[in-house]
């Protein structure tokens, strides 16, 4: 297992000094049974539809893409993660095809029409307003389960 203490110097210093916001009152929502799950993906890969406004370096806002969108570009500011995997296969970071297959096999109920992306380099505290707006959209289309995938 990769541990912070064993990371090379630059990354170790950066990651160990991140200001982690730990909530003192964690929220909890009881999940619905698997066959009732309508799933929306939230990615922090800063992906968006080609032509959408690029994310700024510390963006608080989000972008929305449809479950059939495949023409996505990435405007993430950080260089520390591998890009070559998502270049080969979008499902490596946003597994829309896999979720559709699972819905077809009744492992879940359905895949949401809309999915969301944030800038993972930004402080999540600053994203609260956007996240609550995203949550309202999700509830409008009957989503009950959120699959959060970092980059």
């Amino acid at each position: 297992m990769t541990k912070i203490s064993e990371m090379p110097a630059v990354a170790r210093h950066f990651i160990s000094n991140l200001d982690l916001t730990v909530t003192s009152h964690p929220s909890w929502t009881q999940p619905v049974p698997a066959n009732e799950r309508r799933v929306s993906i939230v990615s922090t890969a800063a992906v968006s539809r080609r032509g959408d406004k690029p994310f700024s370096w510390l963006a608080k806002d989000s972008r929305t893409f449809h479950k059939t969108d495949r023409d996505l570009v990435m405007t993430h500011v950080a260089v520390e993660f591998d890009r070559s995997a998502w270049q080969q296969d979008l499902n490596t970071i946003i597994p829309l095809d896999r979720l559709e297959e699972m819905a077809a096999d009744s492992e879940i109920d359905s895949v949401a029409e809309e999915h969301y992306s944030f800038m993972g380099a930004a402080d999540p505290v600053t994203m609260e307003k956007s996240a609550r707006a995203v949550a309202a959209n999700m509830k409008r289309e009957g989503v009950n389960t959120v699959f959060l995938i970092p980059i």
Partner: protein, 253 residues
């Protein structure tokens, strides 16, 4: 990501997340999380491997069946990383200086020639995948290298993109160049090896040399933003290296 989980849960939505740094999951205690011992950028593990990807999703979704929490589980399979680093990093000793720039016309001509040679294979890759990730900058492929070269004289060129300043655009241009090269090689040579792709692009290609020259010019620049993007490793991949780039203060870290 953990913070977002708390927001969504408080809105009545159940969440499950995957994460690469277990110590952060333990500290932030999202309701349900699956630790992945994978390189960053590979949340579902392996490209073009639906079976593996679905194993990750199923392992994550099983956490939605547990009563109570927070719960952290470990995905049982590991995708090894090199020496504790979770992505490619430039060798610390590979640093150019402004004296290496030489004749910029020659440098640019070599990059153009290299990119033109890759073009047929890039087009094949795009056709096969039905998509490309090149295009974040909004510039055409043939505009990318000249835009970078425009910085090597030490001045900030005019941004050709309306509504975006030159330096944020530069960041996206670098992304597009890397995507153009690695999309081509990963498809043409059937390679899925992030270390090999990083070595080829940054250490062996003409365009990699152009970008390292840009880094050298940035370090020597009076422009604070240019220096900042080097110090914070926002352009060249030095995040996973042992120590900051020589000549920088590392204040960004």
């Amino acid at each position: 990501m953990c913070g977002l989980a708390h927001f969504f849960e408080s809105e009545g939505l159940s969440t499950v997340l995957v994460g690469f740094v277990r110590e952060h999951l333990e500290a932030m205690r999202p309701p349900r999380s699956l630790f992945l011992d994978f390189p960053m950028g590979r949340g579902m593990g392996k490209p073009n491997n639906p079976r593996f990807q679905k194993k990750v999703i199923r392992a994550a979704f099983e956490l939605l069946d547990t009563n109570g929490g927070p719960v952290i589980d470990d995905f049982p399979e590991i995708i090894p990383v090199r020496a504790g680093r979770m992505g490619y990093a430039l060798p610390p000793e590979l640093v150019l200086s402004v004296d290496d720039v030489g004749n910029l016309d020659v440098v640019l001509a070599e990059v153009r020639s290299e990119m033109e040679a890759l073009r047929p294979d890039y087009d094949v890759a795009v056709a096969a995948r039905g998509r490309t990730t090149v295009g974040a900058s909004g510039l055409a492929v043939e505009e990318l290298a000249p835009f970078v070269a425009g910085f090597l004289g030490g001045e900030i060129p005019q941004s050709p993109r309306k509504g975006m300043a030159a330096i944020p655009l530069l960041k996206l241009v670098v992304e597009d160049l890397e995507a153009y090269y690695t999309e081509t090689r990963t498809h043409r040579d059937r390679i899925d090896d992030l270390e090999l792709m990083g070595e080829w692009f940054w250490e062996e290609s003409k365009v990699g040399r152009l970008l390292l020259l840009l880094e050298a010019v940035s370090v020597a620049s009076d422009n604070k933003v240019m220096l900042q993007i080097v110090e914070m490793s926002l352009m060249a991949p030095r995040f996973w290296s042992e120590g900051p780039l020589p000549g920088t203060s590392a204040a960004g870290w």
